[in-house]
């Protein structure tokens, strides 16, 4: 029996609850207005997306450019369910169904394409996301290019925060399990991992499936927060956006993804008044980061690494 209630875990739990309470209080007092709330929603959804993509790209080393495709599956499935069963249970059911649908598609697509390496995998996943988008554009039930509107809003700070915490805890635990270690070994050297008896295909598909599951969750939250869905929201640029968060934060660092998601959302909000040059600055920032700090803000370090000097040697580089 492993000890769950260690000092560390209690501390982490405390920080999690405190963050929730502070934001909740600020919201009810009115310091955080509904304008800020949109930024917070964007941050939460992007954290889920980035952390799940980080599992695939950062930890397992499989370069995916199709994360927005899985997000769109989650979003549409959840939207369709919640529009029919307009209740909190419907929303939760929709989120679960959306995430499972994304996982199934992820597994179906992952099995053939994950044999590909590097750039080819990137292009194959990009193509796959485009196919998903085109299918949503043409389906009757998704209302084509006009998209779905009037989706009931159930996503609020509580659900968003809960799902963010769940995503981070589950993916973090996965990475620290033997499965996660196997994934990291594939990133480091696929041939060496294979010769050590690791079934690389199995672990790659597993990481891909978990990644798509949480992308589906993020999509569901997105659908139920912004009332409105259309296929072009989930284009190539959305996948790039998520990848940029992962790379900026550091591939192989969950903390990095969280920090980068917050940072980019803040920059984006700050630049809202300069719409014309916003994307130009964004692009320049991207190129500059890649030239001057290609490992991202955090590299492969986590926030806990910064405090635990004692256990330094145990860290997986």
């Amino acid at each position: 029996m492993m000890k769950v209630l260690t000092k560390n875990n209690l501390l982490i739990l405390g920080v999690i609850l405190l963050t929730f309470a502070i934001v909740q209080v600020l919201m009810s007092v009115g310091v955080i207005t509904s304008f800020h709330e949109i930024t917070i929603a964007t941050i939460c959804i992007n954290i889920i997306l980035a952390v799940s993509l980080n599992l695939v790209t950062g930890f397992t080393g499989q370069f995916s450019l199709g994360h927005a495709g899985f997000m769109s599956i989650g979003a549409y499935v959840c939207a369709l369910i919640v529009m029919r069963y307009n209740s909190v249970e419907g929303f939760l059911l929709g989120t679960l169904a959306g995430a499972l649908a994304a996982t199934i598609v992820g597994i179906l697509i992952g099995i053939p394409t994950l044999r590909l390496k590097g750039d080819y995998l990137a292009i194959a996943t990009l193509g796959m996301a485009e196919i998903i988008r085109v299918v949503f554009l043409n389906l009757e039930i998704t209302n084509g290019a006009a998209g779905l509107s009037g989706i009931p809003r159930y996503t609020n700070w509580f659900w968003m925060y809960l799902f963010v915490v769940l995503t981070i805890v589950l993916i973090n635990n996965f990475i620290r399990s033997s499965y996660g270690r196997a994934c990291i070994s594939i990133r480091e050297d696929e041939i060496a991992a294979e010769s050590m008896g690791i079934n690389t295909t199995k672990y790659k598909v597993m990481a891909f499936a978990i990644g798509s599951f949480f992308a589906g969750v993020a999509g569901a939250l997105f659908a139920s927060y912004f009332y409105f869905l259309k296929p072009n929201t989930f284009g190539f640029l959305k996948s790039i956006d998520i990848l940029v968060i992962v790379v900026l934060g550091g591939m192989g660092s969950i903390t990095g993804s969280v920090v980068a998601a917050i940072l980019l959302a803040l920059i984006s909000t700050f630049l809202q008044s300069f719409t014309e040059i916003r994307m130009i600055l964004y692009a320049v920032l991207l190129v500059a980061i890649m030239i001057f700090r290609p490992q991202g803000l955090m590299g492969t370090k986590e926030i806990t690494d910064l405090f635990q000097f004692r256990k330094k040697n145990e860290r997986i580089e």
Binding site: Y120, I123, L126, M128, M251, I280, Y282, V287, M290
Partner: protein, 292 residues
């Protein structure tokens, strides 16, 4: 049957354009192993330069084409020197993200200067139609195919008969060995970017004339499709890119002609995934063995 032949004609003219763009992708990938995402945007810039040359400088077709090619070549070299060269020894993903960054930069800088609206291209070629039986070929399609063929012959000549071409082939096989043999790797890479971008510029002008509309985001889709063409033909292979371009162009017109035109982009990508699974090295690509 008539419709079939007509689709073939349309497919070949569209395919020649894809082939011109695909050549740039394949050459750059062959030499520095980078998917140059900005390539589609160089093509967009080419279209705009051609637009400016025809509208404001009152040039005719050929001079406008040449101006667009020269400006794109210079742009290609600048992109390589500023953005890609510092990253030559870094990870593939960093280089790829930089390429995406450059692509966004070109798109939105263009949008900043010319606005996001779609412009219609000035009419520079007559659209006289020739009837061969029941198949219609117009002047523009003829020009597109002829220009593409001329450029491809020129490229074959450069790659196989000149010293620069020899250097390009050597660097693509082994950059370190090439450097030891006294080849200037940096300038060879710059030449490759210049030639590839010039071809993209030419494709931009041709597309402007063919589809008659241009906008700053026009490069994304054709860029991706041209990349699919390059992968299909075998990335790194110049004849492969030509065949791939024609194949993708024809396929696209067939899907639009016989099926649902909404599905044509999906068809291209589905085709890509199937090729990658069945024959990842492409039609004419070499199989590389993995070494430990």
């Amino acid at each position: 049957m008539d419709q079939f032949l007509q689709q073939v004609v349309n497919g070949i003219s569209l395919g020649s354009i894809y082939a011109l763009i695909a050549l740039g992708y394949t050459m750059v990938y062959g030499i520095i192993k980078l998917i140059n995402f900005a390539h589609g945007d160089v093509y967009m810039i080419g279209a705009f330069v051609g637009f400016a040359a025809i509208t404001y400088a009152k040039m005719s077709f050929l001079p406008a084409l040449l101006v667009a090619m020269i400006i794109c070549a210079i742009l290609g070299v600048i992109i390589e020197r500023v953005a890609y060269k510092p990253l030559r020894n870094s990870t593939r993903i960093a280089a790829l993200i930089t390429a995406i960054g450059v692509s966004l930069l070109l798109e939105y800088v263009m949008m900043f200067f010319v606005g996001a609206e779609v412009r219609s291209y000035p009419k520079v070629l007559s659209d006289t139609a020739y009837h061969l039986g029941s198949v219609v070929i117009n002047m523009q399609q003829l020009y597109i195919v002829l220009t593409a063929i001329a450029l491809m012959i020129l490229l074959q000549f450069i790659v196989h008969r000149t010293k620069t071409g020899k250097a390009m082939r050597a660097v693509s096989i082994d950059p370190d060995a090439a450097q030891l043999m006294g080849i200037k790797v940096d300038s060879t890479i710059s030449y490759t970017f210049a030639i590839g971008s010039a071809f993209a510029g030419a494709a931009g002008v041709l597309v402007g004339i063919y589809y008659n509309s241009i906008d700053p985001l026009m490069g994304i889709m054709p860029g991706l499709k041209a990349f699919v063409a390059a992968v299909f033909g075998g990335i790194g292979s110049i004849p492969g890119a030509m065949i791939g371009g024609l194949a993708i162009g024809t396929m696209e017109t067939f899907v639009s002609g016989y099926g649902n035109s909404m599905y044509r982009d999906a068809a291209v990508f589905l085709f890509l995934i199937i090729i990658l699974i069945i024959r990842p090295s492409g039609l004419l690509g070499k199989n590389t063995r993995e070494k430990v």
